[in-house]
Point group: C2
Chain length 222, copies 2
């Protein structure tokens, strides 16, 4: 019975996601759903991505958190519009929340919207928000065994950012094993080693994203 | 409507949790529900806690993960009985899962059961498993701002373990601010700085736990 309820919630979410997807296509704005554990560096990666792309593209951010508005404030202090969603307990964002946030933005003026999902390796992977791509961050201190334990999020991600890569020597992180397991779960997802707070590795990730933004601006499906 | 469904699920869980609680009291076994983000060091902390307490107490571990059995295998390799629960997608453990796992253990032979919950700072905090205490781990690389974003888990925890404390110099972790915010959310919870893989700080945490195991062995409520 719980599964049926869960399926109904997911079906309702998917209908709203389809509406979001049409809206984003009409306005030629690329939408990224960024997922990670708490403290993996989602906000730092967003700020580094903004720095890499802000000369070329007009960007806005939607911040999802259980509580607080500290992340939206950090993004606004960076000179970028940010909408904070507080889920009030829910462990993921849903399409209806995204629609309400998007309705406060001027979509015709935007090329890229980055959605920072709630810090969680489980729930966000099940919810289509109408985005063009889900991308996940794993941070080196979390450990190379995480794909074994949270396979679904690695499978639904179009790319994997391996953040805090500068600490790979501090932790017992086996990058070869990590790449092998991620590759078996999701053979097409590139892995981008990044140190977001230092800027290392951000360019390669930003170029991957820029190619997809261009495809959507040209009217493709990215 | 979703809230009503959620409340019904929580109420059913709470009924089963009460049954678990009675069972644990009958057998004088102390039960700990350990919660943290993915990669915060739950399994390492459990292994260090076992090393600190195994001469005094008989211990078993219940491992909760979306998928895989790697954690149970690590615990068994340490010479301690371990039951693996795979939630198959669910972001937290529930009382019914714990009951099925507990039914495979010899409760009369045990003093302590450590439950490793699914890696998640959100969902596990809502679910009573019949445990004596919920305790959470935050790891230093996750950042000192996490209590702002995930206040509920800090509020329901009887103690907070601050793991990977040996990396406090590597990351920009403001311990004073962390202690202030945790203290405002939960004035009675002690904070134990620990480096689980190196063993530093484990003794103070283990003594806190041993006091509570003793109280339950003596028939108190801990």
């Amino acid at each position: 019975m719980k599964i049926d309820i869960g399926e109904r919630i997911l079906a309702a979410n998917d209908d709203l996601a389809a509406g979001n997807r049409e809206l984003f296509a009409e306005h030629g704005v690329y939408v990224l759903d960024l997922m990670a554990s708490p403290g993996a560096g989602k906000t730092s990666t967003i700020l580094a991505t903004i720095d890499a792309l802000r000369d070329r593209y007009s960007i806005a951010v939607i911040e999802g958190d259980i509580a607080s508005k500290v992340d939206a404030e950090k993004v606004r202090a960076h000179g970028i519009p940010a909408v904070q969603i507080n889920t009030g307990g829910a462990c993921h964002l849903e399409s209806a929340m995204i629609r309400r946030a998007v309705d406060t933005l001027d979509l015709d003026a935007l090329d890229l919207i980055i959605i920072e999902n709630v810090g969680n390796l489980v729930c966000p992977s099940d919810f289509d928000l109408g985005e063009h791509a889900k991308v996940m961050i794993l941070s080196v201190p979390e450990g190379h065994d995480k794909p074994y334990k949270y396979p679904n999020i690695f499978q639904v991600s179009r790319a994997v950012i391996l953040n805090k890569y500068d600490t790979v020597g501090v932790f017992d992180f086996d990058e070869a094993e990590f790449r092998e397991v991620v590759g078996s779960l999701n053979p097409h997802a590139p892995i981008f080693p990044v140190s977001a707070t230092k800027g290392d590795g951000v360019d390669a990730w930003a170029e991957w994203l820029a190619e997809r933004i261009e495809a959507v601006k040209e009217g493709g499906s990215a």
